[in-house]
Structure formats: C-alpha cells, structure tokens
C-alpha cells in the first residue's frame, strides 16, 4: 500500500495543470440540470392547466410544501454532520398533539403551547444526539427507535383519541379549552404582499427558516465545522472541533425544526390529530436527498433542500390540477427521487 501511495504523486502531479478552467457541457448539465427541469415543469403546467400560473398558485405551492420543507431543512442539518434523523415525522405529529393538549385540555395560551412544542423538539433532538454520540447506537437505529417511541407516546395522554375542543376526556368530562386565535393565526393568517391576503404565515416561517439555516450552514463557522464533521470527523477532531457537540446540535436543530413543522400542522388543522407522520418523514427526506443534485452540490445543502421541496410541490400540485390519481403521484415522486439520486451518485461520484 505504502509503495503505491508513494508513487502516486509523480503520476498525478501534472494533471491539475492540464485541466481547463472552462466548464464542460457535462458540468453545465450537472450544475443547472435540475433547476432547468424545475423551470421546464413550471412552464409545462402553466400551459397545461388554467390557474397554475398565478401568484396565488405560487404561494399555495409554497404553502403545500411549507411543513415538509421545514422538516427537510432540519434533517439537512443531520445529513450535514453525516447522520440521519428518522424521528422528524413523529416529532412533528407529537408536537402537534402537544400543542393541542396544552391548549384544549390544559387550557394554556398560544405562547405556552408553542414553547412547550419547541422544548419537546429540542429535548428529543438532544436525546437522539446523546444516544448516538455517547451510547454509540447507529443513527438510523436510534432515530428509528425514537420514531416508534413517539408514535406511541403521543397517544398515551388521551388514550389514543385525537384532540379537539369539546372532546370527551377519558374520565368522561368534556375538554373546555380551545385553540387560541393567536395560535390558529400561525396556520391561517395571511400577510399582504402586493396582493391582499396573499402570503400565509406558514410560508413566511418556511422562507425565514430556509434563509436562516442556509446562512448558518454556508456562512458561519459552526456550519463550516458541521460540514467538516460530516466529511471527516477525525480530521475535524484533529483540527480542534468538539465533534460530538456538533453532532448533538445537529439533532437538536432537526428536532426543533420538526416541532416547528408540528406547530404549523396543528395550526392548520385546528386540532391534534393522531398520526405517525411517516408521510411527512418520507416527503421531507425525499426533498433533502433531491437537494443533493441541485447545483451539482453532491452533498446536503439548505438551498438544494428548499429547491427539492419546491420541486416535489410543483410536481404534485401540477399533477393534481391535471386530475392525475394519487397513486400516480407517489410513483412520480419516487421516480424523481431515484433520478436525483442516480444523478448525484453516478454523475457526481465519477469526479472522485
């Protein structure tokens, strides 16, 4: 082995000089292929269906992906440090149940409900991180376990009932609390943006979080270190980074983002719905993985994740407008994911 390593430099030394700095056609395809495809889709749907090309439809597509988008941004943080979080879907639905429980049964106000949800998300993330970093449980298994745990846990306080105002409690009395209007506004309020009542609060939350996490990962030293940890944890450790702390923080970010998704879900539905959240998980993971292919990044990145979520949203809403049945949509979603992954690993992997 050693001898082979030793002779390599001689063979490769000239190579960098012979490379041309201009982009080849293939590199252009790798870089802008997915964005071009997205624009192509938008143009296609605009021509094929009435009502697709309008500010309302654009905002609505953002709204339809806001919850999975937020979850996807969170899971991107764990992907960056080389981990994975399967518990986000159930963190979201647990947060939704917790919000409903706080307001409907414990009769608390919106602020308390939001804070409790965020605390639950942060706590679950912390727990995931500790189990993965200190108990040495592989990330997929640890978060899978957490997922099942939460699916069960969210049913315990109400003995499996969904939570709605006036519901009958296990002891026979009726719940007297209601969702506070301030909380519901998170899901229903619309801000004026050129057109009156155009942009829903959830879209604003999505955009703000997307910009925040993008800036955090790309431009702060913490984000840079998280990428270093994901790429070569030992090298990061030798460069003085507290590797475990970064990993744990990534899971906390993921948990908090998932709980924000859960809060928006509760605000939109106006009740606490028993749900496993597996569809939320799958859609958001798909968005994050599609994000690998955007701009030829070949690594988890917040911008790519946002585009990935948008891509799925455009596709699904366009297909629904064209009256395509739901199972075809699942198929299309899966096909896009497979193509994106092939794109990432085959085309980009060849560079290495």
């Amino acid at each position: 082995m050693r001898t082979e390593l030793a002779e390599k430099p001689v063979a490769e030394a000239q190579q960098p000089e012979s490379m041309q700095p201009s982009l080849t056609l293939r590199e252009i395809a790798i870089r802008y292929g997915f964005l071009a495809l997205l624009f192509g889709l938008i143009i296609f749907f605009s021509l094929a269906t009435g009502g697709f090309a309008s500010p309302q439809a654009a905002v609505f597509i953002l709204q339809s992906v806001s919850i999975t988008g937020i979850l996807a941004l969170g899971v991107t943080a764990t992907l960056v440090v080389g981990g994975f979080d399967l518990s986000i879907g159930s963190v979201a639905t647990s947060a939704m149940m917790a919000a409903a429980y706080m307001m409907v049964i414990l009769e608390q106000n919106a602020l308390v409900a939001v804070l409790v949800c965020l605390a639950i998300g942060a706590f679950v993330g912390l727990l995931n991180g500790l189990i993965i970093c200190y108990m040495r449980v592989p990330d997929l298994l640890a978060t899978l376990g957490m997922m099942f745990l939460l699916i069960g846990l969210q049913r315990i306080p109400t003995e499996g009932r969904s939570i709605a105002s006036g519901m009958t409690l296990p002891d026979g009395s009726a719940a007297e609390g209601t969702f506070s209007p301030a909380f519901l506004a998170l899901g229903r309020h619309r801000f004026d943006f050129f057109i009156e009542n155009l942009v829903p609060a959830s879209v604003v939350v999505l955009l703000v979080l997307a910009v925040l996490i993008w800036f955090f990962l790309e431009y702060t030293r913490f984000g840079r270190m998280m990428y270093a940890v994901g790429s070569n944890a030992r090298a990061a450790e030798f460069a003085g980074a507290p590797v475990n702390a970064y990993k744990i923080w990534a899971y906390v970010i993921s948990g908090v983002f998932a709980s924000i998704g859960g809060i928006l879900l509760a605000a939109r539905l106006g009740r606490g719905d028993i749900a496993s959240g597996t569809n939320l998980l799958l859609d958001s993971v798909a968005a994050a993985l599609i994000g690998f292919a955007v701009l030829g990044a070949a690594k988890p990145n917040a911008f790519g994740t946002a585009i990935g979520a948008l891509f799925v949203g455009v596709l699904l809403q366009g297909l629904t407008m064209m009256n395509v049945p739901y199972y075809t949509q699942d198929f299309v979603k899966g096909a896009v994911l497979v193509i994106a992954l092939v794109f990432t690993f085959a085309l980009l992997g060849r560079r290495n």
């Binding site: 499996g160 105002s165 009256n323």
Partner: protein, 351 residues
C-alpha cells in the same frame, strides 16, 4: 388545581361504575345462558383499523356494551396489517374465547381465518368486512344510506344540476360502497357534472387532502359542491376552501361525524353544510349485542344494519350542539339504535 378536579371526577366515575355493576350482576340470573354467568364469557375484538376518532368511539361502544353484559373483552389490534389480523383471529381461537367481533379488514385475508373460528365453535360477527360466511352476521353502518342521505340533502340545497368535485380513494370497502351510491346519483341526475376527483390517505389525511383540494379548486374555481364521503376528507377540503377564500361559493357534503367535525361545521361561514352519520359508539354496541344474541343461540339476522342520521349545520346551530355527547342528548335517534335488542339485553347506561 385542574388536575385534582379531574382526579376527583375519575374517582367518582369509578365509584359510579362499581355501583352500576351491582344491578347488572343481580339481574344476571334472568339472562339466558351463557350470560347467567357472564364473568366466564370472554369475547375478542379483532381490529384492522384503529387510528382516528371513529374507531376510538367504536371501541368505546364495544367496551360499554361488554361491560353492560358483564363479559370479559379482549382487544386485538392489527394496525392495518392484514396478515397479522388473520393471525390474531387464530390467537383468539387459541385463547379459547367464546365470541369474536371482526372489525374491518380485507375479505381475502379474513375469509379463511373467520371460517377457522367458526369451525372451532366460536361465534363470530363481522363489522364492515365481508367474510363471505353464512354463519357470520354482517354488522353494517349502511354506507349506501350514508351517501344517499348526504346527497339527497345536496340535491335539496342546490337543485339537480351543479358542478361537483369528488374525494375518493378506491379499494377501501366503505368508501367503495359510498362510491356506488355516488355513481347511481350521477346517473339519476345528469345535471351533476363531476369536474374533478382526488383523494389520498397519506397521514395526517386532512393535511394531505387540503393540499390536493387547493390545487383542484384553483384549477376549477367554478366548483359548487364537494362530495367528501369521509370526515377526514371533508376536514381537508374545508381547510382548503377557507384558505382559498371560497367558502361562499362552495358547499361540502360528507359522511361520519366527530366532536372536531361538529366544531368545524359550526365555524362561522363554514362551507361544510351537512354530513350523514351513524354513531360509531352505537355501531360498537350493536356489534357486541349481535354477538351476544349468537352466543345465546338467538338469530340477529344475516345483515344487522345500523341506520344513519342526517346532521346539518343548521340543526347543530339551532340546537347549539358542541360535541358528540350533546349530539346524542339532543338527537335520541343518534344516541341509540333499536337494533339487536331482545328483551333480556342489558343496555349501557346513558346520561
């Protein structure tokens, strides 16, 4: 503070329950075998679907009626795993239960398991799943009647010609039966024009359906009626209608009801105007009563149909109904079905 109050409530409920058991036990002698000694009778509820308010309420009905009879109830929940559900029937056979209620499931997977139970001398009733077995009475909440009641109301409100969007996922037995009625109605009233069909069971269902409905409504802004014959669908459509600001022009007709549905229907300017429903708790009670009649060697009939009730927004507002409990109180036909009630049958207590 609140917690202690609830604890007290739970305590009194428990005490009340204990005292209620007394008369049931005292009158046990008057009941036919094997209910003269109900403590020895064990029945099993084998479930396919359990998530959601409907199934929760159904379970509470089963529990209430089992308690009224004084029999032991065992709940086996396969959580949408068809193969597991069949195994659970075998498990119940092995446990030596006297009767089984099969709640939902797939004909293909349950047919043979049900036959094995019958062969083992166990009495079986099936709710909302056709196990193709003459010895097994079918409990039905009559999905056709549900759809018919809701659609008749739609005709009454909107006349005989309107543009409709329809929410449907094929392959789910009750939805398929409701779909048959919808097909008949479209044939009968050619003025009904279906402009879109959509639907999904991705959970949370209401959220996914809302996303779809938004697209459908922006593609078809002239839609007048949405027929969403499952309350989770209707909730999703209502969210979409509100978000699109179309609640003046669109009316939603659905099936099934829950407390959350009541508040959604009663929201100011709600587009959700009517739903047809059977009380799931009553269906649960009827299931157990039918099984009890079988155990006492009485015939409940091949099909035990629990009749549905039409519930309109108007009616809820007029009576100021806030939850399922009040709905039962104010609409006695909703609280109790006169089905499978021989003289000896003890009924659950009501308030």
């Amino acid at each position: 503070m609140k917690l202690t109050r609830r604890h007290l409530g739970r305590l009194t409920a428990g005490l009340l329950g204990a005292t209620l058991l007394w008369p049931a036990a005292a009158s046990a002698q008057d009941m036919p075998a094997p209910f003269d000694n109900p403590g020895d009778v064990e029945i099993a509820l084998v479930r396919y679907l359990s998530t959601g308010d409907f199934f929760q309420a159904y379970l509470s009905g089963v529990e209430a009626q089992a308690e009224a009879l004084g029999v032991n109830l065992r709940v086996l929940d396969s959580r949408q795993d068809a193969a597991l559900q069949a195994d659970m029937v075998d498990q119940a056979i092995a446990l030596g239960v006297d009767g089984i209620v099969i709640q939902h499931g797939l004909t293909e997977s349950m047919k043979e398991a049900a036959q094995r139970a019958v062969d083992a001398g166990i009495k079986v009733v099936a709710f909302d799943v056709n196990v193709e077995n003459e010895a097994i009475p079918q409990i039905e909440q009559s999905d056709r009647d549900l759809a018919r009641l809701a659609l008749e109301q739609a005709i009454e409100d909107n006349g005989e010609s309107w543009k409709a969007a329809y929410v449907y996922v094929p392959g789910i037995a009750p939805l398929d039966r409701r779909n048959e009625t919808w097909m008949e109605f479209k044939e009968k009233y050619p003025g009904i024009e279906q402009v879109a069909e959509f639907g999904t069971l991705d959970n949370p269902i209401a959220n996914s359906v809302a996303n779809q409905a938004r697209s459908v409504l922006s593609a078809n802004p002239d839609t007048q009626v949405v027929f969403a014959p499952y309350d989770e669908f209707a909730k999703g459509v209502k969210i979409a209608v509100d978000e699109a600001g179309l609640s003046d022009g669109i009316k939603i007709y659905s099936a099934d009801i829950s407390t959350a549905d009541i508040s959604a229907m009663r929201e100011p300017n709600s587009a959700w105007v009517a739903t047809a429903a059977t009380n799931p708790a009553v269906v649960g009670e009827v299931s157990v009563r039918a099984l009890a009649m079988l155990l006492a060697d009485e015939d409940p009939g091949e099909n035990v149909v629990v009749p549905p009730t039409l519930i309109t927004q108007q009616l809820l507002n007029d009576e100021d109904v806030k939850n399922m409990q009040e709905l039962s109180q104010k609409m006695p036909q909703f609280a109790h079905a006169d089905v499978a009630v021989p003289d000896w049958m003890p009924l659950p207590e009501r308030d």
